[in-house]
């Protein structure tokens, strides 16, 4: 495998959460029309709808802190599965919330996009 999927997964997550925290309306180009996001129990398809959903979330400031991260190559084509847990600090809340998120990344033209994105909050 020519691409180091571990490094890729880390780079991707850093970029993704950084962008999310700075301006989540700009995340659209990481998704495609057939991308799926499962957000808690609802499901959204397509980059535009996904970004609309993310933008509509009722907080202004948000910060992600990655706690753990693991990755596996998911097919011979270079797909990568990424599993992340972390903390979400919303607005000026004292207590962060924990979340887990699973990305399925697909290589495309020297870069990657998100095919599946499964997000789940975990209280506690």
């Amino acid at each position: 495998m020519s691409v180091d999927f571990n490094a890729l997964a880390q780079q991707f997550c850093n970029f993704y959460y950084d962008q999310f925290d700075k301006d989540r309306s700009q995340l659209g180009n990481l998704y495609r029309d057939h991308s799926m996001m499962t957000f808690e129990s609802s499901q959204i398809q397509g980059g535009r709808s996904i970004v609309e959903k993310l933008v509509s979330l009722p907080f202004r400031k948000v910060g992600h802190r990655i706690s753990t991260l693991d990755a596996q190559p998911a097919s011979e084509n270079g797909d990568v599965l990424v599993m992340v847990t972390g903390e979400l600090v919303v607005d000026d809340e004292q207590n962060p919330q924990r979340y887990s998120q699973c990305f399925h990344l697909i290589p495309e033209a020297g870069s990657y996009y998100v095919l599946n994105d499964v997000f789940r909050l975990n209280y506690g």
């Binding site: 933008v55 753990t68 991260l69 693991d70 596996q72 607005d91 919330q97 789940r120 975990n122």
Partner: protein, 575 residues
């Protein structure tokens, strides 16, 4: 282009009719040909949509007569439009279908169509264009006419490896139970590979008389059987135990709180997970039959925690101090902590041997999915690159015993050594929460293959995040519309809409809120709903009523709509 036929127009000229249609329906008739003696006018319209729109105008009055309009060419079968649309291909196909359909047996007998006199005489197989359109048209009509079909016989039709009939068939009848395609020209397994996931309910298949199975090669037959998860009988021979198949696809757990992409996938996934966890607890080693030399497994531990567990021994907020993770840490593949290519590599288990060892090195467990499904949450999505599905599962387990065979101390795995220094006796068995992601693909004999498997173990955190009690809204798709509102400082979830419908009663009485004229228009139930939503969204009365009206006074829909349009709601809409 789709052909239409119009009668009952002869009191006026052809051009008058074309103008009239164009005015009435904004549909342009093209290639108009009329036969004055029969009174039949044929023409083409741009699309099926136009044709259907036009057909709805049938019965309209025109020049003292009544127009009768029908579509004569449902899929543009008669080609480029220069041909005179002679006969109603549609009625030929319809009568053919009717003759071949046995309603009581739910059986469509399409054997030897290529030699059917009527079909051949009408040129349905005269060119490759028409014959390629023939079968889709036939299927379309069968479904249009709501023919209930469980069995189809397509034997003796010269079907070859390139034939797309079965793909069309699957579109119309995905739940087909019995299929015969004997005495055709199918010679490659490829033909069946294209049908993966297409006939999930197929029970019996007849393929005899095709070059592919001429030698009764067991590998070939098995290859075919593998494509169809519920196939019991092939060429009259039983290949699976029907009771077992039914048991496997029949899941005892209520799946209400779970989200699934499609009902079919959901059943398969729920089944799979139930069986999997059962074996994980009972005979973990036997699970290895689901893994192949290419399968991958890795696990990681998230020892950080926020706040206090809802219950349980760990009250310290500073990481793993109150908990013991020694069974997991040596091979935890958290890329945030494990750097170095080699360290990372030895923590990714590839192939059954390595995965088996990793399984034995994890504590024995007890999950309670069957007894308490609400402690678990699951999402399933299809995984097109591998023709499979991705399942993510969240829940909890109790550790019941120390690992059968812990990893030996590994000097070169720098972190492993350190953590393994904790003696076995020092590690407590605890209740943990976990996330797990599987990529599952169809395996031989209707079984499954786990292609990817990622486990994350973390401190016990309960099921608050998805429990039904917290989220009593019934429709799963409407649940959790505004989830990340944050934990309040007391650790209780701040209710977003959709998160609580059995919350504390709203303090204000209706008459303090509703002006008399508004109150008069709303039923008591509607007033209650308005109050609740006002309280939860902080929208003002006017906007709340608007939201309720647009949501048909449905609480869940209101929550969804509110979440969806939140970014466009003006500030003055709030209280």
């Amino acid at each position: 282009m789709v052909g239409v036929q119009i009668q009952g127009w002869r009191n006026a000229s052809q051009q008058d009719l074309v103008n009239f249609i164009s005015r009435k329906s904004r549909i342009i008739l093209q290639n108009v040909q009329s036969n004055m003696s029969s009174g039949v006018l044929t023409a083409f319209v741009r699309s099926m949509k136009d044709a259907e729109e036009l057909e709805k105008c049938s019965g309209i009055r025109f020049a003292g007569d009544t127009l009768r309009i029908q579509i004569i060419d449902p899929v543009g079968i008669s080609g480029d439009g220069r041909n005179q649309v002679t006969m109603n291909t549609i009625s030929i196909l319809r009568s053919f279908l009717r003759a071949r359909y046995n309603a009581s047996a739910k059986m469509l007998d399409l054997t030897n169509m290529v030699n059917d006199q009527t079909l051949v005489q009408n040129g349905l197989f005269s060119s490759s264009t028409t014959s390629s359109k023939f079968f889709p048209a036939l299927m379309k009509l069968a479904t249009q006419d709501k023919m209930d079909v469980e069995s189809i016989n397509l034997s003796d039709n010269r079907l070859d490896d390139n034939c797309r009939y079965l793909t069309e068939l699957a579109l119309s009848y995905p739940k087909l139970k019995n299929l015969a395609i004997g005495n055709n020209k199918i010679s490659r397994l490829e033909f069946f590979n294209r049908l993966k996931n297409k006939f999930p309910y197929l029970r019996e298949l007849i393929v005899s008389g095709n070059p592919l199975v001429a030698n009764d090669n067991p590998t070939v037959l098995k290859g075919i059987v593998d494509i169809f998860p519920r196939l019991i009988i092939i060429n009259g021979q039983q290949v699976r135990d029907e009771a077992k198949v039914n048991a496997l696809f029949n899941f005892p757990v209520v799946t209400k709180s779970m989200f699934f992409e499609t009902p079919d996938l959901s059943k398969v996934a729920a089944n799979f997970i139930a069986a999997y966890l059962n074996m994980w607890d009972g005979q973990r080693h036997d699970l290895l039959q689901l893994y192949t030399p290419d399968s991958q497994f890795s696990y990681q531990v998230d020892t950080t925690r926020v706040g206090d567990a809802p219950s349980g021994p760990m009250s310290s907020a500073n990481g793993s101090a109150g908990s013991s993770w020694s069974h997991y840490l040596s091979h935890s593949r958290n890329l945030k902590r494990v750097s170095g290519a080699r360290s990372r590599m030895i923590r990714l288990f590839v192939g059954t041997d390595a995965i088996g060892k990793a399984f034995q090195a994890l504590p024995k467990t007890q999950h309670s999915l069957q007894q308490n499904p609400n402690l678990y949450s699951m999402e399933t999505i299809s995984f097109p690159p591998l023709n499979g599905m991705q399942i993510t599962l969240h829940g909890e387990f109790n550790e019941t015993a120390h690992p059968e065979q812990p990893f030996p101390e590994h000097k070169s795995s720098n972190r492993g050594g350190r953590y393994n220094n904790q003696s076995r006796g020092g590690s407590r068995l605890e209740k943990r929460s976990f996330d797990r992601a599987f990529v599952v693909i169809p395996g031989p004999g209707g079984s499954f293959i786990v292609a990817s498997d990622m486990l994350l173990v973390k401190p016990y955190s309960g099921n608050l995040a998805w429990s039904e009690e917290q989220r009593p809204v019934s429709a799963p798709s409407a649940v959790a519309v505004i989830p990340p509102v944050g934990l309040a400082s007391n650790g209780v979830a701040v209710p977003g809409i959709g998160a609580t419908s059995n919350m504390a009663p709203v303090a204000l009485a209706p008459n303090q809120i509703f002006p008399p004229d508004v109150a008069a228009k709303l039923s008591p139930e509607q007033q209650q709903l308005v109050l609740k939503i006002m309280h939860e969204t902080r929208l003002n009365l006017q906007f709340t009523i608007m939201l309720c009206e647009q949501s048909n006074w449905n609480y869940a829909a209101a929550g969804q709509n509110f979440a969806n349009s939140k970014s466009q709601i003006p500030p003055q809409a709030y209280q």
